[in-house]
């Protein structure tokens, strides 16, 4: 049927739905729903990791193969450094830029290496906003409790306390650099309510929050003349005789040559895993989200936390074909947008946590109340025109210009017609286990941002990622910088790799994969 004909049910039921309230599920119902429908509970997608620091722990098969993968670096490789630095930051997204700026500001020599361009990242796409408890009726403790609830009580309390308490000073820092957060009439920061949050707490820059922050941070990294290695993919870390991290080897993607960097500390800010397309899901992630940092630190002996849980963002586009997997911001639901099935009914409180909302969408589709596309996809409606009906004409265009433009390019006016959505692979909830200074159990190896684990528990709350990046980017940068002055550069060896290979051999060198992946293999082979 014509898409417009199918959309009629959404238009027809809108007025009736506006009068309804849809209560949140009880904790028991919510658990049952997640266990039955959330992809994290699809047992066949998981297997135990065969060796290494997380031996026996289960993760998705796509990631297990990479973690057990072999390094592209041969034993006896040339390790004479091309560059020396105090702090080596790997990754050019939000956490990497924050780490580099703070380490540089504290007087350390910094090199920032990234496999794409500076600022190419998921951070740049963050639309929903950044959770910081600035409103008078809100508090860091409430932020803590909301996050804990969203994370199924599994969050590391210490990390979480640090994040919520340092939030306000992060906002101040970003404002001092020129980030233009939305304001109230009285000049105070405007806060929006996000899914799973009890108080309005989202700071926003219209629906370009991540882009605005990253434009500013990238510009600042350039202004501070921090040394950059762009189009340089980290392919192995270096360790000294005591197993401490002392640098990294990069592959220059322009000329394929190896570049060795000696560093007193290394900060991995390499982001997530969306491009592994776990369980065949489309993803909202950027081109380089291939979990490189997880593989590199795992071979060094760093322990991973919550590596079996991933976030499937409820609203990935299903139609048109060109936008499959792309995010339709949660902001639409924050402002009251309904999720509607093929019968015209709501089926979840749209402001519940992401895992609950995603599970409910999957349930609707599996039980035959979804809308199918000819290409074999299925989804439910997100009633975007409702926002104009509710808050006045022009609301969608004014509050969601990025979204409007993205669909307009394909002839769809989301202020007039609802959009079809289905969960998309969005975020790695866990990662490398860190302490409050963002350091791993491997000395002088720091991990910041999405690559790290523990903070978000088993489900990250909307808007906590941008804050995570800034807080732990800062803490890793400052800690690494403060150490540099009283430290000598350690030896550059591949001893960790020899150990790892010996262990792999004992287990039959099972995976047969070379990792990290660097970029997904999308190029069609003839």
């Amino acid at each position: 049927m014509d898409i417009h004909a199918l959309q009629q049910i959404v238009h027809k039921t809108r007025d009736a739905r506006r009068k309804q309230t849809f209560p949140k599920f009880s904790p028991a119902d919510r658990d049952q729903l997640i266990h039955k429908y959330h992809p994290d509970f699809r047992a066949s997608a998981y297997r135990p990791i065969r060796f290494g620091p997380n031996e026996g722990d289960k993760t998705v098969v796509e990631l297990a193969a990479l973690l057990e993968g072999d390094s592209p670096i041969q034993d006896g490789a040339e390790l004479t450094p091309h560059h020396h630095t105090d702090v080596l930051v790997i990754g050019g997204g939000g956490a990497g830029c924050a780490a580099a700026l703070h380490a540089h500001g504290a007087g350390a020599k910094v090199i920032l290496a990234t496999k794409l361009r500076l600022a190419d990242s998921n951070s740049v796409m963050a639309q929903g906003g950044m959770q910081i408890s600035v409103a008078p009726e809100d508090s860091p403790v409430t932020h803590f409790l909301d996050t804990l609830k969203g994370g199924h009580m599994q969050n590391d309390h210490e990390l979480l306390k640090v994040m919520v308490e340092e939030g306000p000073s992060i906002a101040k820092w970003l404002i001092s650099l020129g980030v233009l957060f939305d304001r109230q009439a009285d000049g105070n920061l405007h806060v929006k309510k996000g899914g799973g949050s009890s108080k309005p707490r989202l700071l926003t820059c219209s629906d370009y929050t991540g882009l605005e922050i990253m434009r500013v941070l990238k510009d600042e990294v350039l202004n501070q003349k921090i040394q950059l290695l762009e189009f340089s993919a980290a392919i192995e870390l270096l360790s000294d005789n005591e197993g401490r991290c002392t640098g990294a080897i990069f592959k220059d993607l322009d000329n394929q040559q190896h570049v060795v960097v000696a560093a007193k500390s290394v900060i991995l800010a390499t982001g997530g895993i969306g491009r592994l397309h776990i369980q065949g899901f489309p993803t909202s992630n950027h081109y380089g989200a291939t979990g490189d940092g997880l593989c590199l630190s795992y071979r060094m002996g760093a322990k991973l936390a919550h590596i079996d849980t991933f976030q499937y963002h409820p609203s990935g586009a299903v139609y048109p074909e060109q936008l499959i997997g792309a995010l339709v911001t949660e902001g639409i639901r924050s402002e009251g947008g309904h999720l509607v099935n093929a019968k015209g009914d709501r089926f979840v409180n749209e402001l519940d946590t992401r895992d609950v909302v995603s599970s409910s969408i999957i349930r609707e589709c599996e039980e035959g109340r979804g809308i199918r596309t000819m290409s074999g996809r299925v989804g439910v409606w997100l009633d975007t025109p409702l926002l104009d009906a509710e808050h006045g004409p022009g609301t969608v265009e004014k509050h969601f210009p990025a979204m409007m433009l993205q669909f307009e390019r394909f002839g769809i006016d989301i202020s007039k017609d609802p959009v079809l959505i289905y969960p998309t692979l969005h975020y790695q909830n866990g990662g490398v286990k860190i302490d409050t200074n963002s350091e791993t159990n491997v000395k002088n190896l720091f991990v910041a941002g999405e690559a790290s684990g523990g903070l978000h528990g088993r489900n990250r709350l909307m808007g906590n990622s941008l804050l995570d990046l800034m807080v732990f980017g800062k803490r890793s940068g400052l800690t690494a910088a403060s150490r540099a002055a009283s430290m000598k550069q350690g030896a550059l060896t591949l001893k960790h790799l020899q150990r790892y290979r010996a262990e792999a051999k004992q287990h039959g060198n099972v995976s047969g994969v070379i990792s990290p992946m660097i970029l997904p293999a999308y190029t069609r082979k003839a």
Partner: protein, 236 residues
């Protein structure tokens, strides 16, 4: 999973699934109609490293020039956000060596005057409007450059909130202005120097420093798992 067959969206590109002929950097390929420009390059067997970033229309890495069949007009697009059509010819924009001024945003004394020191070419706009026509985000770039020169920093910062820094406004400028970089400077100056400081934020920072929440923290952090779960459930 029975589902009524009426509940399926027609998609011409899936129903007909026809191949179209396109040109990538001057070379012809057959690719499925309707896929994005980036996907067309992958389909054509090209390894793409430079020229792809977020794949979501936000990072500006995939700035591309294209022309449609029999149309002399060369247009611009983001390759991850544009579908190919029969007869289309495109090539990615190479990194353009625009000059970015270096500055310390926080210590600027007179940001509106400093604009002319940092970007002395900014007032030389000759109104050709090529930058505006080149913008894939539909920003009125030319107007923005003039507003910057006349000191209307607030308006510029609002107009360029959509800017993905693809830089396609720059190669077309006959006055060698890099409008996106000018606008970035102006927006940062607007945020750092001409926007009211939020009093509530300073208040909250002080409250945290002064330990206003310490009692509540002690209470919460002393709870066992069960108590904490019950307490979380009371937060509405």
């Amino acid at each position: 999973m029975a589902q009524e067959d009426t509940n399926i969206i027609d998609q011409p590109e899936v129903l007909t699934h026809r191949m179209v002929t396109i040109e990538i950097s001057g070379k012809q390929y057959e690719v499925p109609e309707g896929i994005t420009v980036v996907k067309a390059m992958w389909y054509a067997g090209q390894e793409v490293v430079r020229g792809i970033g977020c794949l979501g229309g936000f990072c500006g890495a995939c700035a591309t020039y294209y022309r449609t069949k029999d149309d002399p007009k060369v247009r611009t697009c983001l390759a991850c956000q544009t579908a190919v059509q029969d007869g289309m010819s495109f090539t990615m924009m190479p990194p353009f060596p625009a000059r970015k001024a270096l500055y310390d945003i926080q210590t600027l004394k007179d940001p509106k005057q400093d604009l002319f020191n940092l970007y002395p070419e900014a007032p030389l706009c000759r109104n050709c409007n090529a930058c505006t026509e080149a913008c894939p985000q539909k920003i009125d770039v030319r107007e923005g450059v003039w507003k910057a020169v006349f000191g209307d920093f607030q308006n510029v910062s609002e107009m360029f909130m959509d800017c993905v820094m693809c830089g396609m406004c720059t190669p077309v400028c006959i006055a060698d202005i890099a409008p996106n970089l000018v606008a970035l400077y102006v927006s940062r100056a607007q945020g750092a120097h001409f926007t009211e400081k939020p009093a509530g934020l300073d208040q909250r920072i002080k409250e945290i420093q002064d330990g206003r929440f310490n009692d509540e923290w002690s209470r919460v952090l002393a709870m066992n798992e069960k108590e904490l779960a019950e307490h979380c459930a009371t937060v509405k």
